[in-house]
Symmetry: D2
Subunit: 345 residues, 4 copies
């Protein structure tokens, strides 16, 4: 099985990556004796404090096993069933979660707003909200969800987030950030984690670790503490309150406290930078996190695949666009080989 | 922290237990290189085969992180939103899942049927179904859910399950088994896992490993294969499709293949037997799995707690009833001490 | 068609009754020229004032076409999706609405509390609520729903309602009253409509007119005004905001202002009294509204049916119990014939 | 009140119109004696036959009080909760029903497809469906909903509907038609009602009468009979099964049998034609039903309003676009005055 697993040069997704040693060790270390279940264990009880320090603010933080759960539970807390959730058409919540926000919220409606580089802009949001009826005939604007980094591998600047949040709050909406690749974005921006979240006005963050070296660990981090009780009941009801919560919380603690969040993100981002440079003029978007989008043409894609590189088409196969994702544990030689292959197209 | 964690003599729940070494080792072993995400990995792809052998039937099996998710996703697959789900008033789905079946099914209605030892009987089910209107004014009978072992620590005999399933199927209902403590029940019964499931007519099983030595791993096992596509979409939509699925599947494979499912259950059941014998005439229900229910009186409970034993009240505290749960990793000395303390009440 | 419609002696339900002339006239009278749609018409805009005068309190009142909609929309406004709604096992919401409360609320759970004459008692409610866990593992007690008159034709006294509401409010629950037969109950009690509603603590009432002479008109009347905006959005979203609202509002205005609510109820109740007296010792419950429950035996029921009387079995046919409902427009001769037939059994 | 109601020259919506005499008479005529409730009355039982003749096909037809209910109940029958419903961005279901399809379906996702004149085209639908992933990560294409007439007052030709249905069915989707203004469209097209529905492949139709002279009556007409049982249960559960169903069914029977469906539509369409001609080059879309969209400029709108004409802005007020709707009962003199005023802008 060894060969079959390690030989392919996988650039499919950071979800294919392994668990980094620090986090696996933290899981083992948490396996001592009996611990009270459902979050009343010492690991889970440290989450608020440790993530509060990480963000530089008072927070309430909750451990979850998946990013879809984190996003949808957070959004269901922000919107009534008759609410509208504004997002980019490329948003993971709109495209890749099988309608989860509709399920968790009791049928809230996604409203897509176009924007370059998969980003919402404050202006486009303001224009949309100003034109939206608030009569009982319409869904009621309730929440905005932005992805950091975006689905096209770009990162919102703190000022961009702040401008969006200002428009949202002026209209009575709350702001959710899908941070499945939050570490990649913050590492690229070189800012403090608080700068693109609560200081810019974000109300609740899905803080992902799974794609960046954890086994399966996401935190929903509330900067708006009044929403928490509703969240906790929704989480339980959705089967996302883990009985042996300590093993997910221990991952999150290790992720933040050991600094692997930054180290892993730096590695993945660095690989993406090299790949992006190799793609050269074929590059479709700035490489700011760990994803590279390149127009390789059908033949270009085929040649890479023939050489053993695995990646997804982006859009219809005939469009010739490849999405290449670098993981924290990518083999250096694979990356070098990919760069060479790209340059040769 | 060591002292704080290991010193209390915890008989709260098998959810407080640690992960058994074989399973932790399987997680580490799965951490090799890149694996395709969302279940297309070699571990997850072996689940059907391995669980099929375990049950002696063709099955489709799906890895999940929690028992509430397993139960509710299975039930949502069995019932339309206007369906009725029949269960015992003590059922975990009715009491301990914050209304999860209502959420996952889009509002199906729980109908409780009383029965001794937390068991449904075929006769009571038949009586209820015969008296239930099937006009459009009524919720439509859709599913039966039974717990094996029950919430009172008793185990359904194969013939009891078969009689229930026969009544259910005659009325057009499908049968779900909540097997959070399935290993404990089967070990007690000494039967084949197939005998109390598909051979008796069960359509879908929540097969729990978490309470019996896993870190967080449950399988939904379908014996009725036609339901599977609907389940898969509901699972994704509910945020319960794990991206790094290999680490949950690896637990399930190790649980079954290494035999720890039986070894751990035998240990836990054995402890419960000793405790039950010590409780003597105070015992409220036969001890058939790893739970002991005993009427200790308020003073009896206080004396145990004063001696460092932790357990839950069952029902209102004034009723004086204790629920004592033995885990696979219970400290032998703690068990011996508890037995002595019980005998002294 | 005339013969086919009028000859049977129908005591099935007050839903089989015709529309009383005053109300049909009000519909015709509202059919003048154009009126702004969706409730911004002069009829609908008088509802708050007219019903406010009727109840002797400031209210917000909303016109609806069906009682199931009134009940479920009101309840959905009172409970989160993870809430519990307490009701009697015989409650219309539990038995006759195909799970509507679960649908409208996003999956709230019905919890039944037994009580004589289909009534909840304050003591039973208190006992249930005191024993209910409020941990995240449980559904959260949210609302109580009582029927006035009850499904067994009895009426809550003002003091009974007040005692229930006090317990509910002490525990943080809100109280809904299903008043599909509110006029029948109030007429029997001889009290002011406010006495068994807001003065006793009821938060929201489904005020039915359909069974008592309207064509199809129910009002949801809020005594707790803070809930209204949520209700209005849920109503629209559920397809229950009527575009030509004037024609339902006009029915409600005529029902209250012309006094037909009382006149019709007195007629129906009077018929029921006569029927109840004729039933004599076969009577199962006090006749306080317009329903009669009598143990006639299988043969007794057959003899009545052979004579052309139509009514429903109550419970399994073999139980021999009949539910006989008197409508406002019951033919006097049919009633007399029924009384004679009952006396002859 | 007379003056206040009849004086304004209302072109807001055909929902402001009165009930036509034939339909009011049918309601009165149905008010004879007792009739079995909940649809088991002689009027409701004739719906299938009468609408079957109208459409020239075997149908199952159900009476409802509102168009939002008709649309959403029909769609909920066509899509699982994880389904995608394709519609035009201007669709009533997307814009004017407060998210009702999301509520009734348990969270299905609306996917908008642009098209001129508020129409979907077969090509655009094919392109969208071909590009849509069917993995479990995506919502699953389930239904197409088109409006006849459209929200911009245009009518789909039979060949356009047939082409759309062919694409939909090829991809496994079912087709719903929102026929709130079906009579206006068919009258304009001069075709048989079957030509733009079942003969073209439509699976289920919301057949509206309310906007065209009824008091409140819509039918859901199934050409695909296998869906009916699910619909009936969803209808009851949603509070849309009317107890005194005869009074809605009688409206539908009169609407179809007396021919007022066509007479009223012809009148309204004729008014719209005259208004459209008066609007001249300001007209934005062809006038094919009873709606006129004209770019009047801010001053033009103001001058009309100053003269007592009432209508809605279409889009932001600053865009200067008016939506003028002609009802069946529009005052001829008002129409003439409006035409003169438009010509004078």
């Amino acid at each position: 099985m060894e060969d079959r697993l390690t030989q392919p040069k996988r650039f499919f997704s950071d979800n294919t990556a392994s668990v980094c040693p620090e986090i696996l060790q933290a899981i083992s270390a948490a396996n001592r004796g009996h611990a009270v279940a459902y979050g009343d264990d010492p690991w889970t009880q440290r989450l608020d404090e440790v993530l509060g320090e990480f963000f530089g603010a008072q927070v309430r933080a909750f451990a979850l096993a998946t990013g879809t759960a984190a996003n949808s539970l957070a959004l269901a807390t922000l919107t009534p069933p008759y609410g509208a959730i504004y997002c980019h058409p490329e948003a993971h919540i709109a495209v890749d979660e099988c309608g989860a926000p509709g399920f968790f919220s009791g049928g809230a409606q996604l409203e897509r707003i176009e924007g370059e580089q998969a980003k919402l802009t404050a202006d486009a949001l303001a224009l949309t909200l100003d034109g939206h009826s608030v009569s009982v005939h319409s869904v009621q604007p309730a929440a905005v969800s932005i992805s950091q980094a975006t689905e096209l591998g770009t990162a919102y600047r703190p000022a961009e987030v702040a401008a969006l949040c200002e428009v949202a709050h002026q209209h009575g909406l709350q702001v959710h950030m899908d941070g499945a690749r939050f570490a990649n974005a913050v590492t690229h921006l070189g800012c403090h984690p608080g700068d693109v979240t609560w200081r810019a006005g974000v109300d609740v963050l899905s803080f992902g670790a799974t794609k960046n070296g954890a086994l399966g660990a996401e935190a929903v981090v509330f900067f708006h503490l009044g929403l928490v009780r509703d969240f906790e009941l929704r989480r339980k009801r959705a089967g996302h309150l883990l009985s042996k919560s300590r093993f997910v919380s221990a991952q999150l603690l290790a992720y933040v406290e050991s600094g692997v969040w930054r180290r892993n993100a730096q590695r993945a981002n660095g690989f993406a930078q090299r790949i992006g440079q190799a793609a050269g003029r074929r590059l479709l978007h700035p490489v700011e996190a760990n994803e590279v989008f390149a127009e390789l043409g059908i033949e270009g894609k085929e040649s890479l695949r023939a050489a053993g590189f695995e990646f997804y088409d982006w859009g219809p196969p005939a469009a010739g666009v490849a999405r290449i994702v670098a993981s924290w544990d990518q083999d250096e030689q694979h990356v070098a080989a990919l760069c060479a292959a790209l340059a040769a197209i």
